[in-house]
């Protein structure tokens, strides 16, 4: 895919639509276009968290292994959403498995590449943290509600 096309596509993604051109180019230097077949895994729990993803098409399910209860899917990430923040937080290991529900197309951003950019340009690092803090807050709120198990049988 040409860089110009990629810039246009990313420019419309809600996660980075308001990012300055300069920072968008910084992000672009760390991105690859990826595809996953239905049922394949984007990553597995415990593996090195080397990237984050902007999902373009398809859906990704986050799974956790719960012993005798088997594998439980606890969240899905849909087109337009961001998958993964473990690339940003030491020790950079995935906490869940991520399985493609249907064929998935996504942009993968290299975590090491981005961390280096964040270290060398703290303003860019702040922009990344600000955006990921918002995602983390959303997930934290949702997880709290999920933990309440509001539909639990009495």
């Amino acid at each position: 895919m040409r860089t110009r096309d990629l810039t246009e596509i990313l420019r419309h993604h809600p996660f980075i639509s308001d990012l300055s051109d300069h920072y968008l180019q910084t992000l672009l230097s760390c991105v690859t276009n990826v595809r996953f077949k239905e049922g394949s895994y984007l990553f597995r729990e415990g593996e090195e968290a080397g990237s984050f993803y902007l999902i373009r098409t398809g859906r990704v399910a986050l799974e956790i292994h719960a012993g005798e209860r088997g594998t439980i899917r606890v969240q899905t990430i849909s087109p337009g959403e961001v998958l993964g923040w473990s690339w940003l937080i030491s020790p950079y290991r995935w906490q869940f498995d991520a399985c493609a529900v249907g064929d998935v197309r996504a942009f993968a951003f290299d975590g090491k590449c981005l961390r280096t950019k964040c270290e060398t340009d703290h303003d860019f690092g702040y922009e990344m943290l600000r955006r990921f803090s918002h995602i983390l807050e959303q997930h934290l709120k949702a997880t709290r509600l999920q933990l309440l198990d509001v539909y639990k049988r009495q």
């Binding site: 859906r59 088997g70 594998t71 606890v74 337009g80 249907g102 509600l145 999920q146 509001v150 539909y151």
Partner: protein, 281 residues
């Protein structure tokens, strides 16, 4: 209360069970045929409820979940939980129950024509909202965009699965369903119902929200609606309390200065916002 059918609101009328539909392993729908004292047909508004009497056991307040225009079979979707609902779950076609109602104030379906409608349901909370959808479908051109956001615990806990499937194929309603968790057989959304707001765009001044589900779920939903700029006066919710008389006399369902059976169960959020989150109430 529709006094045309029940002359005394405290006296149950016999209602024959036409059909029992098991929606999940602990939730079922009773379709009943109420007999009036004066031969008039049973009429109700979306959001109203009936008191169903399992003879010799007791009464339970159950929302009406059927199409308001189909007056010959009134549906009640019931979660089997206590003595009364367990007894109701044992009944079969042809058996009789006692029925009082309909009671309470329903959803403002007629007053919000011309608006977009965002229906947010959690668990069995979809039951009192189903008549809203039927009413909208009967007069579809009189409403704007329709959103149905529905959350349940697992795929096996989803109610009205056949209808959800049918509605999701319609072009003039946006149906989004999610479950809190699942195994790999479920291909839909997983996560709490409030996550579904990420996938729709609401026209803030032109949208009416109707919310029903566990109170904690409604609390989070109202926060989400507020965050998205929906004015509080455009939010309606249905509350559940321990209802006995159904006509605001006994006080069992008192909620602050309101009686849920008589003043509700559907309230504009602004009517109850000042005590909705009060721990003491």
């Amino acid at each position: 209360m529709n006094s045309e059918v029940c002359i005394d609101p405290m006296i149950p009328l016999p209602a024959r069970i036409q059909r029992v539909v098991w929606e999940t392993d602990d939730t079922f729908t009773l379709l009943v045929e109420p007999k009036s004292e004066n031969g008039k047909r049973f009429q109700f508004s979306p959001g109203q409820f009936n008191m169903l009497y399992a003879f010799g056991i007791g009464e339970s307040a159950i929302s009406i979940s059927s199409d308001p225009l189909k007056q010959n079979a009134i549906a009640h979707t019931i979660h089997r939980l206590g003595f009364v609902t367990s007894e109701l779950s044992r009944l079969r076609r042809g058996n009789f129950i006692g029925l009082r109602g309909p009671f309470g104030n329903g959803w403002p379906v007629d007053r919000v024509k011309g608006m977009d409608i965002c229906i947010v349901a959690g668990g069995i909370g979809i039951a009192p909202l189903r008549p809203v959808l039927y009413s909208i479908f009967h007069n579809r051109k009189e409403y704007g965009r329709i959103f149905l956001l529905y959350g349940a615990r697992t795929p096996l806990d989803l109610l009205y699965r056949v209808e959800l499937e049918q509605w999701s194929k319609l072009s003039d309603i946006n149906v989004l369903v999610t479950v809190d968790h699942s195994d790999s057989s479920w291909k839909g959304h997983i996560g709490v119902v409030t996550n579904l707001f990420s996938y729709i765009t609401l026209n803030t001044l032109h949208t009416i929200a109707m919310v029903c589900g566990p109170e904690i779920m409604m609390k989070f939903t109202i926060r989400e609606l507020q965050q998205r700029g929906i004015p509080l006066e455009q939010i309606y919710l249905s509350l559940e309390r321990n209802m006995k008389c159904g006509i605001g006399l006994c006080g069992h369902c008192q909620f602050g200065p309101k009686f849920v059976c008589k003043d509700g169960p559907v309230f504009a959020y602004t009517q109850v916002s000042h005590f909705f989150e009060k721990r003491e109430i």
